[in-house]
């Protein structure tokens, strides 16, 4: 009840939240496709490819945080690693790992394509 009242006193603009989430999703899907291109050209197979995907999408999330979120959220009094200034849904978990599942299909597609073109 207290949190609800707090939200009513300082309301969130729904459009901005949607816009932030959409920007993040676009970044994730584009990153996943490009990672697939890279993994295919490098000729990574099976587990190495998936490990490559996971580590580099997490790296992309970290870079996004450091370059875009942190410069304005740290002075606003948020603690390090807290993305709640821009992303409310999912409590941060979605920010860091949300791209992994969403981009997986695109990653597999481009990975297969470029692996097929370069190696097989």
């Amino acid at each position: 009840m207290a949190a609800e009242r707090e939200l009513q006193i300082a309301p969130l603009v729904q459009e901005s939240l949607v816009h932030n989430t959409r920007t993040l999703n676009n970044l994730h899907s584009l990153t996943a496709s490009l990672l697939g291109v890279a993994a295919g050209i490098l000729g990574l197979e099976s587990l190495a490819g998936f490990a490559f995907y996971i580590s580099f999408s997490l790296l992309a999330a970290v870079l996004f945080y450091v370059l875009r979120v942190a410069p304005s959220s740290l002075p606003a009094g948020k603690s390090l690693g807290d993305t709640s200034r821009y992303f409310r849904r999912g409590g941060g978990f979605e920010f860091w790992t949300g791209g992994l599942m969403g981009g997986l299909a695109g990653f597999v597609l481009t990975w297969t394509l470029f692996y097929g073109l370069v190696r097989a």
Binding site: R5, Q8, I9, R22, N25, N26, S29, L30, A32, S33, A39, G40, L44, E45, S46, L47, G49, F50, G103, A105, G106, F107, V108, L109, T110, W111, T112, L113, Y115, G116, L117, R119, A120
Partner: protein, 259 residues
Amino acid sequence: MAQVPAQTIPRDPQLFYWILFPITVVMVLTGILRHYATVLMASSPKKLDKKTTREQRSLAHGVSVRANHYVLSRSSFTARRDALMTAYESGAFLKDQDGRGQPPPNPMNDPAAMEGMMGMMKNQMAMIIPNTLIMGWINAFFSGYVIMKLPFPLTIKFKSMLQAGVATKDMDPRWMSSISWYFLCIFGLQPVFNFLLGSDNAANQMAAQMQMAPPAGQMFGPGVDPNKQFLAEAENLAVIEHHSVLDGVEQRLLEGIKA
């Protein structure tokens, strides 16, 4: 343990230009076509007559008073609530006043409801027809080849799916035929469409099927009795425990100045 040598299959490099490339291009173009077909076929909202509009808007009014009650002062909220509840319970906003208490008409006989269903049917058709056509096209022209190797191993169960039309028993399930490239395209082209058409596109059937779940704002679907909705909304309004954002604002202001 002896290492099993990796299977290699010499393939004609022309396979890429004559199978892989056409399928990919066709998939991308179909997605774009589907997007624009959906945009063009979207039926403009039908004009409602005065009584129907009043019925819908007055219910929406009640909902928004309930959702935003905290920006109203107590007296104005009470005035609104009382007026709305009286009107809801007496049925003043109903489209046909005499129809209260009668069972709702069969949605199949209602032309307005049929219109809505036609719209959904059209969307479904825009999904199904191109898929069937492309599946048939790929099966007719490109079945029976192995075109690529997946970069990750799969279990033997995938063999019948990935190697449809290639009846070679000992082949590694990693080799895939053109139909499996088609499936990969279905699932994986969303980023491409995002890039080409903007992110709220209608190009991918997977995303469209997720939106098939009826939207939450569907209050006036066919076969719903408006009188019952009004009564329920009156009840919802009655149980609201009103508080205002201005409650205790002086205290908050003083605390803000002090800090």
